[in-house]
Amino acid sequence: MEVDSVFFTDRSGRVTSNPLLDQLPSYQSLLYRRKSSGAGSKRRNSSRNRFGSSGSNKWAVNTVSKHEEKQKLEERPIRELPKTMAEKRQQKAQRLQDAADLSSWRQWKQGTRRYLRRLREDAHDWLSSLQLWRGDIHLIEGMFGQGILSYFSFLRFLVMLNLIIFVLMFSFVMLPIIIAPHTSGNITYNLNDGGICSVYPSSTRRGLVIYYEHIADLLSGGGFLEQTYLFYGYYRAHKIYFPKTTYNLPLAYLLATIAYLFLSLVWIVKRSATGFKRSLIQDEDRFQSFCNKIFAGWDFCITNVNASKLKRSSLLYELKTDLEEERIKQKIADRTRKEKCRIYFIRFLLNLFVMAVLAGCFYSIYKATIFSQKAQMDNIKVNFIVDLIYEYLPSIVITLANFITPLVFSIIINFEDYSPAFEIRFTLMRCVFMRLTSIGVLLFSLWSQITKCKEEPCVCGYNHLLYSCWETRVGQEMYKLTIFDFITIVSVTIFVEFPRKLIVRHCDCGLAKWWGQQEFAIPQNVLEIVYGQTICWIGTFYCPLLPAICTIKYFFMFYIKKLSLINNCRPATRPFRASSSNFFFLCVLLIGLALACMPVIASVAQINCSQACGPFVNYTTSWEVVPTAVSQLPDGVQGLLWALSSEAFAVSFFVVTCLAMFYMIALAGAHKKVIKQLREQLAMDGRDKRFLIQKLCQAQRIPEVRPSQPRQQVLSSSSSRRSPNYETSFSNNFDESLFLVHSPPDSSTHV
């Protein structure tokens, strides 16, 4: 029979109303919401009869607010209402009827609103269909799950980022030079003032050039590539005089650099904002451990037997890991003082060992860089291959170090006795530190070579004899790192992963079983691309075409990784939590960006720019171009800019930012407290309600109520499943079988 009211007592359908409980505001709103969402006329009639006597006063008062609620309900499109199909059809008929009653102005308003909403949805769909590689990523998601999907969408993000950076540099630095001859612009070049600092010996090869020397040049960025748009040294234009304006190229170069760093920062922060919010909420509740896994863990899309086996084992693994974490937490809490001392001592020793390993790697990178630079300077030509090795020595050493250290770290962490989740994160942090600092060490060793002269201090501020154009040299090193990184990735895929797959598939020996099939290790792959992106950010100032090279590199990397994934890899047995992984990737990328900013800022502000090449020949440091340009602006603007860069403004800006930050922290703390209180209040209210009902029943002693019936019987007889009504039985707690019915979809989720 129809379940219509909040209280429903027995099979015969006689409703015993309790006037006090009928007047509860929560009851009124429940009943109203159910009525207003398209109940049939039959229900309306019966409830109207019930309401005749008791609730009429309250009813009158509440009609106004109910009318407004009804309006709000009507705004939602019907398909989004949590109803069955039959009810939705009724609701639609209802709305059409209502719409016909409205005035033409309201009809027009509704129509426009609907049209605009549809337009917005269409635009959104169209934009998302333009996304690069949408089909490929869907395929990967279907086959390998969310963790690997996030890696590939991260890769796509980097392709777009590099493309935008390249467009920025191209349009502000290269385009004016290229179009100047066509638009009758006049380019003035930096003059060679004849001083010793501005001597720039040409590095182009003369005479008969053997073919492999061209290849060596292509791979090392020297020879014929050195005096091209690829490197900083080629941009010697000082000012470009167009018919109407003067274009200050050095200023544009510097500002474009600052702009691309700032743009990357803003884009990454914006992208990580959602992930950050989600992580904060989860950390608060430790939500992910069990509820999420049990209720939202099984992917209903799985149709393949193997995939379901895999999903099952990965869920099992996750649950077991969480149980293990709980056990270890318990163990840590139970540790005695003696054990704690022992553990801390071991950790101290192992951290010292880790630092020694890192120091060793950094020292070897330093030595390799110095050796390589000397070999290039002295121009010792042994033979083609050895020369190339000397050129690429720093890259080779960095790659080797980045290959060995993760293995060392993962062995060491076993002895340090942390919880499994912390182990993973800590090892990852160490690997990130290793990768990004190795670039820093390379740059530091280059810088030490550049600023070391035979007689101190250097005449030009840098070693003009060996490094007449040091920025180009740095650009060449970054270029080599990028090329070598790409070559490494391709070779590892071809020469390690494919043979591994062949061996494991066709050979049944012990080696194959121990090695096992390749798993796509997400953290290591992410570190690889963050490393490449950091090099790109540092190198773009010295090598403006580097973003284009990186875009192409990541573009091909997508296809290579995808091919390797589909053909060689099996899905990971250790699942990588997808919802937090996006945030992790962007975090590591931000660290890379922070690290990349430091060398760029140091070289722009501190190191003397080379006098023999590049756009900043007339200035001491690259930064000087900005004050010079500012001094040519009108007085008012100049005054404003000087004020903005003064200490007074900086200090007050800093103070204001600190205050804002403290305010936000206080606000967040207050919200947390409020949430906790509300949650306790919810629990309290539930208990209050039960207590009140118990008391009421005891007080009333309603005679028509039949004695307690078996719960299952009564519930199964209430047939109507057309609407998702719920019957919550309290017959556990009470003698009388008084059943409380509430309609959860409307009450808990509607506005």
């Binding site: 069955t84 509820c291 939202a296």
Partner: protein, 179 residues
């Protein structure tokens, strides 16, 4: 829409094609039972065993519960209306609240409108095919109830469940079937 003519937008075409493809699937489950002509509103219900063998549901550990919770008689016999209901709730287009309601129904094995410890144990065993030890199952169920239970009655009512599932980040992406 009012008095204007119905324009077949892309949206309507997608919905219609979804509807017709659903009917095609329903028909091919039992071609001799399912009529093509619905003018007389025939009362045709397909039994649980047929529906549960559909490829989309075959590998799902909760397939029996899913079909039962959409059927009117609670035994898993679906009419075409209920069949459409089922796949539309489980599609990508359904809103979160609707999915939460049916998720609660699915996990409630003894249909008492509470997720008690027994329900959770059954859910967990179906998920892991009983590869956890009984103590581990116990511990996990206790922890789950501890995390989600707000009113302190050691079982999850619908409001507890809904409160918890709206914060589950993976719920919308896992609780859907592509057909």
């Amino acid at each position: 829409m009012g008095n204007k003519q119905t324009i077949f937008t892309d949206e309507i075409i997608i919905l219609l094609s979804f509807f017709f493809s659903l009917h095609a699937r329903y028909h091919e489950l039992a071609p001799h039972l399912v009529p093509m002509d619905y003018t007389n509103e025939p009362d045709c219900k397909l039994p649980l065993a047929l529906i549960v063998n559909m490829p989309e549901l075959k590998e799902n550990p909760f397939r029996n519960r899913i079909v039962e919770s959409f059927s009117e008689d609670g035994m898993g016999n679906l009419s075409f209306n209920e069949f459409v209901d089922m796949f539309s709730v489980l599609s990508e287009m359904a809103p979160r609240e609707l999915k939460a309601i049916y998720a609660f129904k699915i996990y409630d094995y003894n249909v008492d409108n509470y997720l008690c410890k027994e329900d959770l144990k059954k859910t967990l065993n179906k998920l892991t095919k009983e590869e956890l030890t009984p103590e581990e199952v116990d511990l996990v169920c206790d922890k789950t109830i501890e995390e989600a239970d707000l009113d302190g009655d050691n079982k999850l009512s619908y409001s507890d469940f809904e409160n918890m599932i709206t914060r589950a980040p993976d719920f919308l992406s896992t609780f859907h079937i592509r057909i």
